[in-house]
Point group: C2
Chain length 144, copies 2
């Protein structure tokens, strides 16, 4: 995991569709060596997968909200219950007054309300506190 690897990660996070020849030229390696580097990054699990990035608004997910979920029970095992709600994009167990923090994308605020209802129906959930996003400054990959 040296500088070249980090550079490759940055480039591949920006555009994973470019050729190994171009990638290699950018970091000063041959296409073959670059390919081998990237292969090992995958093997080690540093690169999890390659995926397309979709515009949420274009697929009817223009409303973004974060929801703090309070609970009266231990929720460390109920990840599946949250995963069952497709509008939830992320779910994290958090330290602090709430128990779970989820990121929700819906088409409308009415649908957001419906998601809140479904979250409320999860066993042990005692309350929700939703925060609607007005504008997203940026969402970007992590810099190695």
């Amino acid at each position: 995991m040296d500088d070249v690897d980090r550079q490759l990660l940055v480039l591949l996070q920006q555009d994973a569709a470019q050729s190994y020849a171009a990638l290699g030229q950018a970091v000063g390696l041959s296409a073959g060596a670059t390919h081998e580097r990237v292969r090992k990054l995958r093997e080690r699990g540093v690169i999890r997968r390659t995926a397309v990035e979709v515009d949420p608004a274009a697929i009817g997910r223009g409303v973004l909200a974060f929801v703090m979920v309070d609970s009266t029970k231990w929720v460390g095992d109920s990840g599946d219950r949250f995963a069952a709600i497709p509008e939830i994009q992320e779910a994290h167990v958090i330290a602090g007054s709430a128990a779970v923090l989820v990121k929700v994308r819906t088409a409308t605020t009415e649908q957001l309300q419906d998601v809140l209802r479904r979250i409320y129906a999860i066993d042990g959930v005692s309350g929700t506190q939703a925060t609607v996003v007005l504008e997203t400054f940026f969402e970007r990959p992590v810099t190695p």
Copy 2:
């Protein structure tokens, strides 16, 4: 934007490295037609880009936190100030008591503290409220 397009988006969000032949077989189209579909999805901006997904822990970003940022001024124009902090992965203007919600990834909690200090140094920021993530249930692409 029909069912086939949506199916293609799901498949490409899971694995953008597969061939158009395989992709086409999955949705019942030829490789050529599939290629044309995907090309148009890119053209329309539905697909923004294709990128690799990196394991945060593998690149020294094992600590995840969400930070509510309070402010005394209008912060709608200070996106650049947040973008200048590389540990910030997302920044959103929110409705509610706070003004901005940011997602931060650092190697240690000490570094998180340092990020909070830098956020505090942004003009107009009057306070921060950090929530550390103990466990991430899941982070997944949005389902079309």
